[in-house]
Structures are given as structure tokens and as C-alpha cells.
């Protein structure tokens, strides 16, 4: 499997390869727009007594893989929503605030978008964009089910996304990637990654990040994330986007989560020194999927 290429940079190669094969635990969170999370917690305990609250998000629970929360009435009515724990972290690092103007540049299928809308307490403007028209219905289904009113769903190429007068307060660039970190999901990454595809996607990732750095207001926050381990698609993209001024901000690890720092070098290429502030989630550290997140502050 193509994950062999990371064995030199991971702390425990065997644990990494084993974890990447195991099914992913399900994580659900309470939607406060629909119901007081304390009441939702009672419902979750009733339907799944084994549900275990996350240390860093007491309103989110880890469920055994065989539990199917998508069949629950509380799910149907948007009182809970399912999202992978690593993805939950990426959305929470945007630190969205009520009333702000926020852009989710590559939003489909809408899990992180939903997290942003809830963090905004459904107030302000959340632009949920995706290039693929066919995937917009997935975003709309999530936002409808959760009862969100502050979101505009748009179809545009993120690389040429139009500017908002005054700029966006925060932008999430959850870039398309080779998805190597999704190997634990049904239908996730299984095969060897095509290096040719990787070279193409790196160009798109870099262009998306550069565009986001121009669309955000001066001093605003851009969060860059992928569900892949490859430094080519992560640290190297941050390096290539350095034609725009930004700094990479340190990430404080939430309680109970172990985060690995960004890699300062990979296969002979060295990166800007602040890439060590970016974080990588290895599947064996927290029993999550693989993820990479960098929190960027626009400006020199």
C-alpha cells in the first residue's frame, strides 16, 4: 500500500499501518440550533449507552462502529449530526464567531460547513461553495436537516472565487486531495495513489490557498486542511503559497487529542520554519482518520 512512503516520518510504523486498516469509530455531535444539547445528551444515552463523550467536545460522542445513528429519529430531525473526529477538529480551528462573514471554499458534502454554522450560532453570513454542482445537494441536505438559515450555497470555481467587499473574516480551504487519510472509511482510499494525479491536485491546492489568502480581510484567518498525509499536498503547498503574505499560527492541542507537528523537510525539500506550527493527525494517535490542518493569519 502507498502508505509505506510515510514509515520514515511516523513514530510507530506498525501501529500506523494497523490503525489505517481498522474501521473508523463513528462520532456524532449535538446540534444546539434544534434542541438544548443537555436534552440531546439524554437521547444519545438512551439510544446508545456505550456512547462516549469526547474529552475535548463534551457535546460530541464516539459510538461503536456497528451503531447506525443515521436511522435515529434524532438524526432525521437534525438534533445530531455525524462527523469524523479529525474533521471536527479542522472545523473547530476556524473558530467561527456569530455575525462574522465566513467562506467555506470547498464545502461539499457539508459536514464542516454545518460545524461552522453552529459555531456562528446561525448568525452572519456563511458562504458554502463547491465547484461541483452535483455535490451541492449534499450540502443543502445537511443545512436543511440542521435548520441553518445563515448559509448561502454557491457553485463556483474556488480558484477564481469572487471577492466580498471588505473581505471575509475567516476562510476554510478543505482542499481536494488524494484522501490517503480516509482508508478507514467504507469506500475511502484503498489503492496506490497516482503520482501524476498528485502533481495535478497540488497545483489546484496551491491555487485555492493563494486565492483564499487574497479573499480574506487583512489579518483574517485561513484554515488549510486535507485528509491526506502527503507533505507534497500539505507543507509543500504552504511553502508554494508563500508568494502571499501569511504566518502559520501555533495550534493548542485540545484535551485528549495528540497532534503531530508539521514536517520541516521531506525528500530533500525544506519548508518555511513555521510549518512546524501546522498539525497532522495520525490514525493510531487518537483512533481517528488521517488529517492535516494549518491555521494561517493573513499578513506579513
Amino acid at each position: 500500500m502507498s502508505l509505506q512512503r510515510y514509515l520514515d516520518v511516523v513514530d510507530d510504523a506498525d501501529a500506523f499501518l494497523c490503525a489505517a486498516e481498522r474501521p473508523l469509530p463513528r462520532v456524532i455531535w449535538a446540534n444546539p440550533l434544534r434542541q438544548d444539547p443537555a436534552k440531546t445528551a439524554e437521547e444519545v444515552r438512551r439510544l446508545c449507552p456505550e456512547a462516549e463523550p469526547l474529552a475535548w467536545r463534551p457535546d460530541a460522542w464516539r459510538l461503536p462502529p456497528e451503531v447506525k445513528p443515521g436511522r435515529w429519529v434524532p438524526w432525521m430531525y437534525g438534533r445530531v449530526h455525524g462527523q469524523e473526529e479529525a474533521s471536527l477538529l479542522a472545523a473547530s480551528l476556524v473558530d467561527a464567531q456569530p455575525g462574522e462573514r465566513i467562506l467555506d471554499l470547498c464545502a461539499a458534502p457539508g459536514g464542516k460547513t454545518a460545524g461552522l454554522a453552529v459555531a456562528m450560532a446561525d448568525r452572519g453570513t456563511l458562504v458554502a461553495n463547491d465547484r461541483s454542482y452535483g455535490r451541492l445537494s449534499a450540502i443543502r441536505r445537511v443545512l436543511d436537516r440542521l435548520g441553518v438559515t445563515c448559509a448561502a450555497v454557491t457553485c463556483g470555481n474556488g480558484v477564481h472565487f469572487p471577492a466580498y467587499p471588505g473581505g471575509y473574516d475567516r476562510i476554510l480551504v478543505d482542499a481536494p486531495c488524494t484522501c490517503e487519510g480516509t482508508s478507514r472509511k467504507p469506500g475511502g482510499h484503498q489503492d496506490v495513489t497516482s503520482e501524476r494525479y498528485r502533481r495535478t491536485i497540488v497545483q489546484i491546492q496551491t491555487a485555492l490557498l493563494r486565492r483564499a489568502l487574497r479573499l480574506v480581510r487583512p489579518g483574517g484567518r485561513v484554515v488549510y486542511s486535507t485528509c491526506t498525509y502527503a507533505p507534497e499536498e500539505n507543507e509543500a503547498v504552504l511553502e508554494a503559497a508563500s508568494t502571499e503574505p501569511f504566518t502559520i499560527e501555533p495550534v493548542v492541542a485540545p484535551a485528549g487529542l495528540r497532534l503531530a507537528p508539521g514536517l520541516p523537510a521531506w525528500q530533500g525539500q525544506t519548508f518555511r520554519p513555521d510549518v512546524v506550527n501546522a498539525v497532522r493527525l495520525w490514525p493510531h494517535h487518537n483512533d481517528t482518520g488521517g488529517f492535516f490542518v494549518a491555521v494561517l493569519k493573513q499578513g506579513a
Binding site: R123, L126, D144, V153
Partner: protein
């Protein structure tokens, strides 16, 4: 590719607010923090937070919450709208018990002998809004999306008495 959808602030929202109050007992101040919009190519009515501004220069597929597919009095509120605001309704409401709520979610007919007037209702089960329903001839017809019926396990909604 469809033509760009064009959303404008709903002209004369007072008429819609008065209708919501008269029909469902939803007071106008319930929507003070929100804003209604008209999608000009389809005539649908949408609801956003009062602070939501459409982004310029890009095709909008949806803007806030779809409130009406057809303007009242001809159209009824969508299920999405009912779920968000139906808890506050005081008129045209139908309250169901646990057994009837489970039957509704399973797509079974629900007899409502005491509801004599034909028309739309905001249907509520124990502790939650269930959605919109049509009452006629002592029967409640579910207006929930058919896909829900296939996906949901009605027993998970409420503890057994």
C-alpha cells in the same frame, strides 16, 4: 447549467408575517432576527438570518432556509420551516402521542377523529415538531419526505411508555 438564481428581499413582508400569525399563531416578532427573500426565477420564499448578505458575483443555489415553495395562501410552509418555528405555533396544530407519532414516521395512516376541519397542520409529537401534515376526513396524511420513511427507525424517537 441553470441560470443564476436571483434573490431579492421579499417585497411587503408584512403580508406574509400577518398570514403566519393568522394561520399558525406565529407572532411577527418571532422573525425579528430573520429576513424573508424572494427567489425571482421560481417564486420560492426563503428565510435567512437578518445579518446574512448574498455574496456578489457567484451563482447562488440556495440562500438560507427554503420557507415556502409557493407563496401563501396557495402554498404551505415547508417541513424545514415547520421544524424550525413550529414549536411556537398556537393555531392549526395537531398534537400526536407516541404511538401515532411512530405510525406517522412509518408512513402508516393516522386516524384523527377529533380534527374535523380539512387543511394543513403543523404536526407535533411528544417534545418535538414532526413536520407538516394534511388532515381530511378524519385522517392525517404525512407530508414528510418519502426517503425519511425508508431511513428512519420510528422506535428510536421516544422511549417505550
Amino acid at each position: 447549467m441553470r441560470a443564476a438564481a436571483f434573490f431579492i428581499p421579499l417585497p411587503e413582508p408584512e403580508a406574509l408575517l400577518a398570514w403566519l400569525d393568522a394561520t399558525y399563531g406565529l407572532p411577527a416578532d418571532l422573525f425579528a432576527g430573520h429576513r424573508f427573500w424572494l427567489r425571482t426565477d421560481s417564486g420560492t420564499l426563503w428565510l435567512t438570518d437578518a445579518g446574512t448578505v448574498p455574496p456578489p458575483g457567484v451563482r447562488l443555489d440556495a440562500f438560507g432556509l427554503l420557507a415556502f415553495r409557493d407563496a401563501p395562501p396557495r402554498g404551505r410552509p415547508t417541513n424545514t420551516f415547520a421544524l424550525r418555528f413550529g414549536a411556537h405555533a398556537t393555531k392549526s396544530v395537531l398534537e400526536l402521542g407516541v404511538a401515532a407519532s411512530r405510525a406517522l414516521l412509518a408512513g402508516e395512516p393516522v386516524a384523527v377523529a377529533d380534527a374535523t376541519e380539512t387543511g394543513w397542520r403543523i404536526v407535533r409529537g411528544p417534545g418535538q415538531v414532526l413536520g407538516m401534515g394534511w388532515v381530511a376526513e378524519g385522517q392525517l396524511r404525512s407530508e414528510l419526505p418519502r426517503s425519511w420513511r425508508l431511513d428512519v427507525d420510528p422506535a428510536t424517537g421516544w422511549p417505550d411508555a
